[in-house]
């Protein structure tokens, strides 16, 4: 396969498809797809001796768009992003999806719910779930006889 970005056809000029795309885009703006049903989201999960971490790419979201809650032994995450055309602009190409999800993740017995922390950097959400102290590996010193 050739490099993807080389095969992108010239989208805007001297191209009949450009017109048809603009018509499509105009229709999409007039009749937007119904609000996407919340979907599940994939997370990358990593485990260390100290903690689990969940990561998910959520570009364009601000921390206010996102809700994280710990309740009843579950971690509940929800977020929404809609890609509105800016004032005075019309869309001629739409590939970025609206983000809308609600997800509840059951916390295992190893997780210390009190210590859960979240950070959001460059559009990547990271939730850190520390392990309970008794779950962390511990070196046992052999006592001298």
């Amino acid at each position: 396969m050739l490099m993807q970005w080389k095969t992108t056809p010239d989208p805007f000029i001297n191209d009949f498809r450009s017109l048809s795309r603009q018509v499509d885009a105009a229709f999409r703006d007039l009749f937007p797809t119904p609000k996407a049903r919340p979907t599940r989201r994939s997370f990358t999960v990593e485990e260390t001796d100290e903690a689990f971490s969940l990561k998910s790419a959520l570009p364009g979201l601000s921390p206010q768009d996102l809700s994280i809650e710990v309740a009843d032994g579950h971690l509940k995450l929800s977020a929404a992003r809609s890609n509105e055309a800016p004032e005075g602009f019309r869309a001629i190409r739409r590939e970025r999806r609206n983000v809308s999800f609600e997800q509840s993740i059951k916390l295992g017995p190893k997780v210390d719910p009190e210590g859960i922390e979240a950070s959001f950097e460059n559009g990547i959400l990271t939730v850190t779930l520390p392990k309970r102290a008794e779950q962390k590996p511990r070196q046992i010193t052999i006592n001298a006889a």
Partner: protein
């Protein structure tokens, strides 16, 4: 079908998977606005070029992947007036239309 197969290996730098960044493109009377999702990319890790009517960028996400994209604008764009911002994993590029292509109101002379 891997995108990596097509990427040449002309440098010793580790070969990162190349991902196509999804874009929205908007148009107004005198500007184009491109928004691209490039989560995890930091400000200094983006190369943007405009040559022969083609806008290209490569945004490197740490040691994980490179987001690439190329869009054709032809001679509709003023190459000296392209502005880029990166915020929360979204790259925004504002292109000014070339003066000759802006809609222009013609006044009928008395």
């Amino acid at each position: 079908m891997s995108e990596q197969t097509a990427v040449s290996t002309h440098s010793e730098a580790p070969k990162l998977p190349r991902l196509t960044a999804p874009v929205d493109v908007f148009e107004s009377d005198d500007h184009y606005l491109v928004r691209a999702d490039v989560p995890g990319v930091q400000r200094g890790d983006i190369d943007i070029s405009f040559h022969d009517g083609e806008l290209k960028f490569e945004a490197t996400r740490g040691a994980e992947a490179v987001y690439v994209r190329s869009l054709g604008f032809g001679d509709d764009v003023d190459p000296d007036a392209i502005e880029a911002t990166l915020e929360r994993g979204v790259l925004e590029l504002q292109l000014s239309k070339a003066a000759a292509n802006k809609p222009r109101k013609i006044t009928i002379q008395a």
